[in-house]
């Protein structure tokens, strides 16, 4: 069918496979992310969600095709780049908020330094300038900026996630990847972090891929949802459709389990 609607994806994965040793964890994953949208990825523990994000973050090698519709990268398969170019693409275009803040932050450095670091890596020469931008990012992440000199080590889980978020958005990535950004936080804190993410989506028009096993979290943010089962996409659709008219037996179970 021809459609009067043409739109180029910002990110495209085609037939991506990844395994740890002989075990295949991603078994031919294809997906598209469009500018300004939030794509939710759900699936049970071990379905490959984190692995998928690490492939998208160019942190794990994988087979298949991965393209970003960014100036200078058109048509380039990022999975085939040499490690140096890969790092460059990651730093310039991608950001990942990890489930465990300690995997992403330097726990002993000040929060401000944590957020300023990627800016310095990207070529900001003046520390004062980087610090100013870092402070602005902390504010955007709803971090109490008067505490910017404290290291993540002494902060609560919710505030650590805000430092991670500030670090991730400081350099305005093309794609923000979020791995269970609210898991492990208590409910109220979780709700506040979701508020911040929603505000960022509205204000900055950030494009995000949000991984969570919590359908409520995904429902609160996602425009479209993709369901991963044992490394395969078994369902993809509009967020309300996947939640209210799930097609695949596994998705039906997942939705049912939530009620």
């Amino acid at each position: 069918m021809t459609s009067p609607y043409e739109e180029a994806p910002l990110l495209r994965l085609e037939g991506v496979r990844q395994g740890y040793g002989a075990r295949e964890v991603l078994r031919g994953v294809s997906l598209e992310l469009y500018p300004g949208e939030v794509l939710g990825v759900v699936g049970e523990s071990g379905s490959g969600k984190s692995t998928l994000l690490r492939v998208l973050y160019l942190e794990l090698p994988a087979e298949g095709r991965y393209t970003l519709g960014q100036p200078g990268l058109e048509g380039l398969n990022l999975l085939a780049l040499d490690p140096y170019r890969r790092l460059e693409v990651r730093q310039r275009h991608l950001a990942l908020v990890r489930q465990h803040a300690h995997e992403a932050l330097r726990m002993g450095f000040s929060s401000l330094a944590n957020v300023a670091e990627p800016l310095l890596l990207l070529g900001e020469r003046r520390y004062g300038q980087a610090a100013t931008r870092a402070l602005a990012a902390l504010e955007e992440a709803d971090f109490p900026t008067e505490r910017a000199d404290e290291p993540p080590r002494v902060l609560s889980g919710g505030l650590r996630q805000r430092v991670q978020l500030a670090r991730a958005i400081a350099a305005r990535p093309a794609v923000l990847l979020l791995d269970e950004p609210t898991t492990g936080l208590d409910l109220l804190v979780q709700a506040r972090v979701l508020d911040t993410l929603r505000a960022l989506k509205g204000r900055l028009g950030l494009s995000m891929i949000l991984v969570s096993h919590d359908l409520g979290v995904v429902r609160a943010l996602a425009d479209r949802i993709l369901v991963l089962l044992e490394g395969e996409v078994v369902e993809a659709g509009l967020a309300d459709q996947v939640l209210e008219d799930p097609q695949h037996p596994y998705t039906q179970d997942l939705v049912q389990a939530r009620l």
């Binding site: 459609s3 009067p4 609607y5 008219d245």
Partner: protein, 237 residues
Amino acid sequence: MILEVAELEKRFFLHRLAREVVAFRGLSFQLAPGAFLLLAGPNGAGKSSLLRCLYRTYRPTAGRIRYRSLRGWLELAAAPDRLVLALRREELGYVSQFLDPRPRQTALEVVAEPLLWQGVEESVARRRAAEMLEAVGLRPELWAAYPTPVAGGARQKVNLARSLIRPYRLLLLDEPSASLDQEARAALRAWLGRLKQEGTAMIGIFHHPEDVAGLVDATLFLEGPYVAEPSAPGAAG
């Protein structure tokens, strides 16, 4: 015409129960701009499911939904998800009896939000949101409250104000007046009349005829409920 529905059908396959539920089948009708189609029929006849198929919250299982959008004619039943999202943003509206839970957003923010998506400046959006809340009769002291924990009637006013703050080409109404008081129902009736004059096509479910007095151009009776049928062999997966 703005909408041409042909032989539309919706079935649910409940895999774990190995059961198939027919919400409705064989529905055909057409709708002109500015026309109002009332859906009638007993509980479980498939009225809500039909609206949800048109909004694509449900995936139709057979049939066609030809819709004339601002972009031209298109097949809604098979339109790509991204196109459906764009249509919802720009021209397709759905108002139900319930407000999606919107934690920690004030009534004014909830109502103004659709305008912000369209790029309307914040101060303008808030002023128009206040006008809408006034039109549906929400007491001003609730404008800065969080609607989610508020009682049903007030919450529904917020929901309505949010839904009706911008124009649509096609508006789907699933019992929007169910929990409203007299005053709010009259305001809704007046508002729908205005939309109709502006050319908005509407399909609605209303249980009180006075809520749509003078608006209805045609009524579609859904006859269900259809009996549950056992799945075809092998369909249970």
